[in-house]
Symmetry: C2
Subunit: 415 residues, 2 copies
Amino acid sequence: MPDLVTGNAAIGQSGGPTAVINQSLAGIVESLQTGLGASGQVKRIIGLRHGVRGLLKPGEDGLVDLTAIGKAKLETIAGTPSAALSSTRDKPDEAYCQKILEGCRRNDIRYFFYIGGNDSADTCRIVSEKAAAAGYGLRCFHVPKTIDNDLLENDHTPGFPSAARYVTLAHMGDALDNASLGGIKINIVMGRNAGFLTAAASLARGQASDGAAPADRPAPHLIYLPEVPFSTDAFLADVDAVYAKLGRCQIAVSEGIRDETGSEIAPKLMGSGEVDAHGNVQLSGSGALGDGLADLVKKALTPKGGKAPRVRADTFGYLQRCWPYASPVDAEEARAVGRYAAALAGKGDTSASTILVRTSHAPYRVECRRADLAAVARRTRHMPAEFIAGSNDVSAAFHDYCSPLIGELPKIARL
Amino acid sequence: MPDLVTGNAAIGQSGGPTAVINQSLAGIVESLQTGLGASGQVKRIIGLRHGVRGLLKPGEDGLVDLTAIGKAKLETIAGTPSAALSSTRDKPDEAYCQKILEGCRRNDIRYFFYIGGNDSADTCRIVSEKAAAAGYGLRCFHVPKTIDNDLLENDHTPGFPSAARYVTLAHMGDALDNASLGGIKINIVMGRNAGFLTAAASLARGQASDGAAPADRPAPHLIYLPEVPFSTDAFLADVDAVYAKLGRCQIAVSEGIRDETGSEIAPKLMGSGEVDAHGNVQLSGSGALGDGLADLVKKALTPKGGKAPRVRADTFGYLQRCWPYASPVDAEEARAVGRYAAALAGKGDTSASTILVRTSHAPYRVECRRADLAAVARRTRHMPAEFIAGSNDVSAAFHDYCSPLIGELPKIARL
């Protein structure tokens, strides 16, 4: 018999939403309904409005009762992008976590599930430690979610494959547009610290291009990642070489590109530079980096007295994480990590993060496993060196890694 | 027996590509193969690279032989977004059209099909008149295409429904994202002169909202069209009212919004203001309008000494016209207008534009018909008054008009 506690279960969603974050919610709920709910340890299944914020509110104000939610409703919720319970950008410190613990006590919450990134894993870790120190039986489980794919211990993170699918499809369509009318096209992709999502633009090529010169690659011809120091001079030379040969050039750029000293490029090109609560300059929800790079290219590539090349920039923005059609692989895996976390609780685990481990590359297979919260909390994973090729491309290893995640691509041809 | 000429047929694609422009190409090709091709009047079916530019090149340099293209290849081409033959932004004047006519003579072209907007219809018209004046038997057919939906005579234009589907899906996903985290979100939609595409954002609501106050509408709460004079003060008051009540606000804005004097808003908010070959300021491929509006909102809605609201802007850009998944209705209709143009040629018509006419609203039915080129050429259609509701919304009539065009939408729900 597993060592279990009896009381209520709470589920929260945190950080930037994804296309499949509700699949994880549904996975937790359905597994609790048939598991700890059916066996009596979980009395109520409670959804938290705006993540841990929901626990800070008086009475039932921040809570949604999911105990008896029906299968059909749950399935519609699961297929809906963005946090159905609403999310929060709060990153709780020790004092905040103390309030979370008090909220758990007040609502007799004994099982706490938090779907989010490395900050959410850290919240789970702190709350779990505080509960243990206070002698309050609370089981804390982190369920992974982030389009940035930057969680340690995981082969990849639920949410990333759907965003990667969007970025791939966008580059496929946009490459055809660029081929139709020519010119230079810059696409800014989300991912401040990790280049995985920008790297996914390479899948639009339909094949790995490891080793080919930029003008000999299918579009996107150039890919710039935050992990590779960005030099404006090298960038302009790269673009010039492709454009001179092809009359066009498609470029994928991470919003988080940095120079050799580690300073972000975006603030240098941006007029304003709004700083968020964490001291970071706002990169998403603004077209400034793309427009700044486009201006640079126009100035550098316009011959003296000649005609400026056609240069356009699109900043993909929030659609990357909320497009209503998810990667089917992602939807399935996001559901699985939710179920697995509930199963860990059912086995008497006291605190853990669910992780996704790839057990076979061909055929593609993954398994859910457990990791200690501290192994996932706070730290950020970057693109490994073997996924990067030179200063402006990704490797065949990345192609092999990412291809199975994004689902089928449409068949295309030109004349 | 129809009055026919014998020689080659040429097909070109012009202007901004769409997701279904190759469906029209395929429709023309397959109908010529089994029609005038099989009966001997059409010897070769020739694709023009970069539209009429292909006719100006020596020898076969600008031509692609499509006479014997196979069904499977043609079907893949049809399903591919963006002009498979490549497109052109050239808007031929009289002298240019004279060169086109010479290109037709040089290549024994007797049937000329041009897939494009009102400028392409005008090119057809001028070339047709020049051929008649020169006693050269040339049949000219315009096949409609534009995401802006701004062609006269047509109920709607192939290319628009797919772009409208993208804009709808984008607002659906983005509204859920906005509901998850709150704040003010501005989305800039293509369409410099006609507001149809921006209006399509309203379909994300899943229902008509005619008459409801902005904060009582499902998102998008506010919609600004180029047909309705835009007042910055009214805009800020609108946003303030919704945000004060809901803590969030989703806004769809046409890139072509203008003030009461008809002057575009974008150039006023933009630092630079690149002017294109036609004297127009560049609106697409830049985030400047969205960023400018976001700055206005931030400044106006930040309480004295208080915290600025979260304001973000996304400019949807080129993905609106090249997303690889088209509206199924659009794909079918784009194919049909191509076939119909070839059928007109087979019946001995000498010059015409194919138009789409809605013959029934419920159930939705359309028919292809012919119009004189002059009826479609050059002029621009705007949103009719009955599609507009007040200063910041569309009507139930627009909802009924547009809903059948975009295909099925995913089922969504929140908690």
